[in-house]
């Protein structure tokens, strides 16, 4: 560290040393008192309470008779359910084209937590934030409880009768029927739709994707004669070049890619090589933040840089930074390289295909013989549908779990056109923007209540099984469609099972086993099932039609013209396309990059901000008026380091008007701004963009500025790969403290202690976090919230710095120190210098939770011993003992303790945001093994002590020691990059023991008889000698020089 002179900063305000920031940073809590309701006379309420205090105490003492509590057993206990014992079921998360194989934890018949399914070769036990949060949508109070006709409840029988009659009359008159949906991964659902089509031959199935990748389908069709997306294997790539593809966050199959990517980033165990990752993009994406070399490029330049790379590979030098370097590396890596692009333009994708072919990636990192089906949208068909509907040519439309009025750029058109459609049906689970406009709503089950299957890629099938009895009078869409198609006594389960039986029998598998595992793989040499997804037969990748490349390049040159400010639309990691916008967990999940919650905003570069006089005072910033063509939107500005200076970015998924009280009115809807390039929809808007900075100020609720480390730069320790290869301990900082006890005159701070230390005879739990594989995706964050009943506090309270998350992902930017700047740069004005530093910083993510210090500063200051140390290394927090002095939080060097300023559950003040603790339905998601904390107590990461206790008990019952892996904390089990490893440091067989190379030492003076032998491992703030049980491994960047 001593040779690392980089400046680390958490945000622009820290970099500029904004006085307000400095002042706030020094305070643990904002100085204002938590008196809230000014408009309702908050102070009088408090006075009233004070006066009532004694009276209430007296009355409650007198009325100490305990309330009668009931114990109600089942009438007929299901054999598989034992109250108090969780059951796990394999299932599948499918949301449009998003796919993840999952295991659902249920308690007393209700799902409470989602984990990854280790048996899946695609998601490999990983999940992402949206998957984790999907369990909450099951208990969303906004879900429809009944089928509806024109806004009024109706019975299924009536609805079926009316719909079938209308469909029949339309069909006999030859009227056109359309089923509109997002990508359908389920082969059996496709069969249902075929059945429906047989009954009503005028039916067409129109598929669209909210984040389209049709450009790839088309490009592959042109290049190889097949409309498909190949499967990628990042784990085999030594060099990865991505042009705007956020493959770790939102692109195609992020969980799968993160798993693969992390394998190439992991070091140790003799592995001293890692992949090198180049990223070219306009906004700073999660993927870009993880890249070794990142070049900010305008959307218009992004396509040109693909061309530039193509040309660089053929020997032509490029002016775009890092292109030549990338080309050289790619050439060196040969077939072990992978180039991807997030563009939806077939021309760009054609060039990408040409590059990959040139490098020989097909067969190693790209498997074209195993296509994936995540994106099946057909924009042309969808456009035709919109046009037909507008022309009144469509008589009936069924919106199958999709919301095109909101999440396409044709929203307004569809809205108008729907007036001309005679029969409109939606199967939405809520009264969303589209369902609002239809006559009949036949609400679908939640996926956790449904039967189903999915076919994410060739030969891979995944099953969906219900984990709860349907809560409301909803019905599976497949059953609805079959009923309307005239099938008597529909039972979709039998339909599904019947369809699978022959296939499974042919493969020698049983239905039960398939359901139990959740996933099956069928070696399909042409014998694809009756899914109709793919044509038969294998095919071999030939060279792309090279003639098409010059054509593509010329198209790119005509289509991409730079024009001042450009807009780059993106999806956020949490909210995604906005389908799950009503999930308070996702709304309050800080965006990994901007650390903002509850809003979308215009990200601008520091240079742009200076140029346009954007002020940034006390966390507040100007609003901006964003105009594209004739659409204008007003939204707040966030200054984003790493943003290309003439590009502004904004996320979709916000501005919902009809999603539920959590999401409605949050942010602005930018779907209407989506443009068209080369006939395909594009998230890049390159012309007609203007931004006007407004005088109004607005504060985006960011968690970024809180909890800074006050310049203690030993928090992040990093090195380059070259340094690491020479010295595995490169980048490490070893603090020393002067002492007379040692001959050398100094010793490590851990050796000097007031405390006697602890003896851990039984277990010694610990965490190891590899900063090199952590991508910052925040899956752990939501998993922790779900596991530990963490309340959601809402935008205002986040601004008040009262967010309750037990773990946070600290995001640090780093930039060159001033000394290293060139002379001309040093002579610049401060604001110019700032622009330079903020133009393209390096990013490091650091998951931060309670460090479970062995010499915990919080324990020594608690006046009531509410926080104590366990014999297993845990720093225990006892809520019922806590009296809320907050001394512990003040004394915590890591600032990981959270104080309950309010009673967040059953509190009308928070019922709009903390929905799942405010109504009976929502409360069903709470983990019954974890206390719901009340006002006035401190809380923090418990290292999932409930899981530890459960795992130990299971082992004791079987009369054995717990095996490594039996017990896993929520964050580690969710992690798609396996960056977090939990285990017993006393167990010599455990992964953490081996990973940290723990050595027992006889140094008895300080009684933690262990030392970490791994040179990369360090403790954050080691110099203060608190001896945490959480260790971090240094971040290694595959850069030539730091």
């Amino acid at each position: 560290m001593s040779d690392n002179k980089k400046t680390y900063w958490k945000g622009i305000e820290q970099l500029t040393n904004d006085p307000a920031f400095v002042k706030n940073a020094e305070n643990e809590f904002p100085e204002f008192l938590p008196i809230s309701d000014n408009e309702e006379g908050g102070s009088s309420r408090r006075d009233f309470l004070k006066m009532m205090g004694f009276g209430v105490a007296a009355v409650s003492l007198a009325a100490c008779e305990a309330p009668i509590r009931k114990a109600i057993p089942y009438v007929n206990k299901p054999v598989d359910i034992d109250p108090g014992v969780p059951n796990y079921y394999a299932s599948t998360y499918v949301q449009g084209g998003d796919y993840c194989s999952i295991v659902v934890k249920t308690r007393e018949g209700r799902p409470i937590k989602i984990e990854g399914n280790e048996l899946s070769k695609i998601s490999q036990g990983g999940v992402n934030a949206q998957v984790e949060a999907s369990v909450l949508s099951l208990y969303d109070n906004e879900r429809l409880r009944n089928p509806k006709k024109a806004g009024a409840d109706i019975t299924w029988e009536e609805l079926d009768k009316e719909v079938a009659a209308k469909l029949n009359s339309i069909a006999t008159q030859g009227g056109q029927i359309r089923i509109v949906s997002n990508t359908v991964l389920s082969p059996t659902t496709k069969r249902v739709i075929e059945d429906f089509k047989t009954k009503y031959p005028t039916t067409q199935h129109v598929v669209y994707d909210t984040a389209a990748a049709e450009g790839m389908l088309v490009a592959n069709e042109q290049s190889f004669g097949k409309r498909m997306i190949p499967s990628y294997d990042f784990s085999k790539a030594d060099v990865i070049v991505s042009f705007g593809a956020d493959f770790l966050g939102t692109w195609i199959s992020p969980v799968e890619f993160t798993k693969q990517y992390s394998k190439t980033r992991r070091l140790g165990d003799g592995k001293k090589e890692m992949s090198r990752h180049y990223q070219f993009e306009g906004n700073l994406s999660l993927t870009g933040a993880n890249a070794d070399y990142r070049t900010p490029v305008k959307p218009s330049e992004e396509a040109k840089s693909v061309v530039a790379l193509y040309q660089a590979l053929t020997g032509k030098k490029s002016s775009i930074a890092n292109i030549d370097k990338a080309a050289a590396d790619l050439k060196k890596a040969g077939s072990k390289s992978l180039v991807v692009s997030g563009s939806n333009d077939p021309a760009v994708q054609a060039v990408v295909n040409a590059i990959n072919t040139m490098l020989g990636s097909y067969g190693t990192t790209i498997d074209a013989s195993k296509p994936v089906y995540y994106k099946q949208g057909d924009e042309k068909a969808f456009g035709t549908f919109v046009a037909d509907a507008k022309a009144g040519k469509v008589s009936a439309v069924i919106f199958y779990n999709c919301n095109p009025v909101y999440n396409t750029q044709y929203g307004a058109d569809i809205k108008n056109a729907l007036a001309k459609v005679a029969l409109k049906i939606s199967t939405s689970d809520r009264l969303d923007e589209t369902a609002d406009l239809v006559e009949y709503i036949a609400p679908d089950h939640h996926f956790l209540e449904s039967w189903g299957d999915a076919n994410p890629s060739k030969g891979v099938y995944s099953f969906v099984q219900p984990t709860i009895t349907p809560i409301f009078k909803t019905r599976q869409v497949q059953e609805s469609l079959l009923t309307w198609a005239g099938v008597e006594k529909v039972d979709y389960f039998e339909y599904l099972k019947g369809g699978w039986e022959t296939t499974l029998v042919a493969q020698g598998m049983s239905w039960d086993k398939a359901l139990h595992d959740g996933v099956i793989e069928i070696s399909e040499s042409g014998t694809e099932t009756d899914t109709g997804t793919e044509e038969e037969g294998d095919w071999v990748v030939g060279p792309p039609a090279s003639a098409s490349i010059p054509d593509a390049i010329s198209k790119i040159n005509t289509n991409y013209k730079s024009s001042g400010t450009e807009l780059s639309i993106y999806q956020k990691i949490g909210i995604g396309d906005g389908t799950q916008a009503n999930s308070p967990w996702l709304q309050e999940m800080p965006d990994p990059i901007t650390k903002a919650t509850w809003d979308n905003y215009l990200t601008v570069s520091q240079a742009w901000a200076v140029e346009n006089d954007v002020t940034f005072v006390e966390g507040k910033s100007n609003m901006a008026k964003l105009t594209v063509g004739d659409t204008s939107l007003t939204l707040p500005i966030v200054i984003q380091p790493g943003q290309e200076k003439e590009t502004v970015g904004v996320a979709v998924g916000y501005g919902r008007t009809s999603a539920g009280k959590v999401a409605n009115g949050r942010g602005v809807d930018v779907y209407p701004l989506i443009s068209k390039i080369n006939g395909m929809s594009s998230y890049s808007v390159m012309s007609g963009v203007s931004v006007e900075v407004l005088p109004e100020m607005y504060q985006v609720a960011q968690t970024q500025t809180q909890q800074t480390y006050m310049g203690r730069e030993t928090v992040i320790q990093e090195a380059t790969l070259g340094e690491y290869q020479k010295d595995p301990g490169a980048g490490r900082y070893h603090p020393h403290i002067a002492t007379w006890q040692e001959e050398s005159g100094e010793t490590s701070p851990g050796n000097l202690s007031l405390w006697k230390g602890h003896k851990y005879k039984n277990h010694h739990w610990g965490l190891a976090i590899d900063l090199n594989t952590c991508t910052g995706c925040s899956a752990c964050h939501v998993a922790c919230q779900s596991e530990n009943n963490i309340p959601v506090v809402g935008r205002e309270e986040v601004i008040n710095r009262r967010d309750m998350h037990w773990m946070r992902i600290d995001r640090y930017y780093s930039s060159r120190p001033e000394e290293e700047m060139s002379e001309s740069e040093q002579g610049m004005m401060d604001s110019r210098k700032l622009e330079l530093t903020a133009s393209n910083p390096e990013v490091t993510f650091q998951p931060m939770m309670c460090q479970h210090c062995n010499n915990a500063p919080c324990e020594t200051v608690c006046p009531v011993a509410a926080t104590t140390h366990s014999t297993e290394g845990l720093n225990q927090m006892t809520y019922n003992r806590c009296i809320g002095t907050r001394y512990c939080a003040n004394n915590c060097p890591y600032k990981v303790r959270r104080f309950n300023w309010f009673k967040y559950h059953d509190n009308s003040q928070f019922e709009d945001v903390n929905t799942y603790m405010s109504n009976d339905l929502g409360k069903m998601v709470l983990n019954p093994d974890v206390t719901v904390r009340s006002r006035g107590v401190m809380e923090k990461c418990s290292l999932c002590v409930q899981r530890i206790q459960y795992g130990k008990l299971e082992a004791k019952k079987e009369g054995r020691r717990p095996n490594d892996g039996d017990i896993n904390v929520a964050c580690a089990s969710a992690c798609p990059s396996d960056a977090i490893v939990f285990g017993d440091m006393n167990d010599k067989e455990s992964q953490i023991y081996k990973m940290l190379k723990i050595q027992d030492t006889e140094k008895a003076d300080y009684i933690i008889e262990k030392e970490i032998g791994e040179p990369r491992a360090y403790h954050v703030l080691e110099e203060i000698g608190v001896k945490p049980n959480v260790a971090y491994l240094t971040k290694i960047r595959n850069k030539d020089k730091a």
Binding site: L61, N76, K77, P83, S870, T871, T931, V945, L953
Partner: protein
């Protein structure tokens, strides 16, 4: 304050017991045998037949048998009572009826097969035990031999006699003193030539008002009052939420006495979760139906179960054992791993007609048990290393406390 109270209590108790036992000491029955053989016969009979309900020094299901040969009206009475207690009670015997009032409805099992001699042997054993004193005290003195001299082992009877003698002597002295002062005062008054000061001393009148108004008195009274109020409040506060003895009327008059006691149905048969889950589980009606589909089908109480099944409406039992939500308790940890008997916490359920809360269920109660209970480490590889480490550093058995059983996050998370 507490030692004061307990001391007075002890004195009071000692005083009364000795007064009660005094007259009988001389009338100890000579009929009771003293031979070693008879005593050991009595011991084996006692242990085989009586011990399940009686102890010598403690009240169990039946009264303590200490001194019974002295307390009971006669040896014959005892013999008759053992043969058939209900007959003696029915005969209107005063002593027997007093006992019945105290212990009903528990009847003493009749032992008509015992011979008179056998009963006398039992009494011989009881007598020996009575004279030996309570076993606990013996153990206690044994354990502390170094500190306590052998002379302390005086039977309580002698102590009582000495105490009573002392009290009598003190009373006598008091009487004599009062007599002397009265005589002296009379004499001095008759003398008539006293100085005013001396007269005042002799004829000093006791002023109640003065005493009441005196500062020390007011202080003392206030102090005692405040202390009593404080103590009562503390006691009441400690009792908040403690529902010991809570035995609400249940929707169905289910008797554990019949099921667990009389028919000896294993607890687990109905409480299926007790070895695998945190909750022991209240049985669902389908478990009841295993038997009651055929047994006692006409009973109105059983009909309620049928109704529940027919209407698909669960039976809403009243929860008896309520732990606060902030405490995590796991049955399987205690029953399956710890091998704790259900009765340890739930009390003699097999004798409860209506189930009630037997234990305090307070945190102090939990902690006490964790301090005293040895870990069931037998045949459990989980504990092997722990036992080894513990034995290396301590001679005591491995207690729950030693493996973190008192730590907060064992129960609170």
């Amino acid at each position: 304050m507490t030692p004061k109270i307990s001391l007075t209590r002890v004195l009071f108790f000692v005083f009364f017991t000795s007064i009660l036992s005094f007259p009988f000491i001389s009338s100890a029955q000579d009929e009771i045998p003293t031979e070693e053989a008879r005593i050991s016969e009595g011991e084996s009979l006692f242990k085989g037949n009586c011990a399940s309900c009686h102890k010598v020094h403690e009240k169990l299901v039946g009264p303590a048998l200490k001194d019974v040969y002295d307390r009971a009206p006669s040896i014959d009475w005892i013999v008759n009572f053992v043969w058939n207690s209900q007959k003696v009670i029915a005969s209107g015997d005063e002593y027997a009826n007093a006992l019945w009032d105290e212990y009903k409805p528990t009847q003493m099992t009749a032992f008509p097969t015992f011979s008179r001699d056998q009963i006398l042997s039992i009494l011989a054993y009881v007598k020996v035990e009575t004279e030996a004193g309570p076993a606990v005290a013996q153990v206690a003195t044994d354990a502390t031999t170094g500190a306590v001299s052998a002379g302390d082992a005086i039977p309580s009877f002698y102590l009582n006699t000495i105490m009573i003698g002392l009290v009598v002597v003190l009373v006598l002295i008091l009487v004599v003193l009062i007599l002397i002062t009265t005589v002296l005062r009379k004499y001095l008054n008759q003398k008539g030539d006293l100085e005013a000061d001396d007269a005042e001393i002799i004829n000093s009148t006791f002023s109640l008002e003065g005493l009441v108004r005196s500062k020390p008195f007011i202080f003392l009274v206030t102090f005692i009052f405040a202390a009593v109020v404080f103590k009562v409040t503390i006691n009441q506060l400690f009792a908040v939420g403690v529902q010991i003895g809570y035995a609400p009327k249940q929707p169905i008059a289910f008797s554990h006495e019949i099921h667990a006691g009389q028919y000896e149905i294993d607890c687990q048969y109905c409480h299926t979760g007790v070895r695998k889950s945190k909750s022991a589980n209240i049985p669902s009606p389908n478990i009841c139906m295993n038997c009651h589909s055929a047994i006692k089908t006409e009973s109105p109480e059983i009909q309620k179960i049928y109704a529940a099944i027919e209407n698909d409406k669960p039976i809403e039992w009243i929860r008896v054992h309520n732990l606060p939500d902030l405490a995590y308790f796991n049955h399987s940890q205690h029953v399956e791993v710890g091998n704790i008997e259900c009765q340890t916490c739930h009390g003699p359920v097999e004798e409860m007609e209506v189930i009630g809360q037997h234990s305090l269920l307070t945190m102090g109660w939990c902690i006490d048990c964790h301090r005293n209970t040895e870990v069931n480490t037998k045949d459990n590889a989980y504990y092997d290393n722990l036992v080894e480490l513990h034995d290396a550093s301590s001679k005591e058995a491995l207690k729950v406390e030693d493996i973190g059983g008192l730590e907060c996050s064992k129960c609170h998370y």
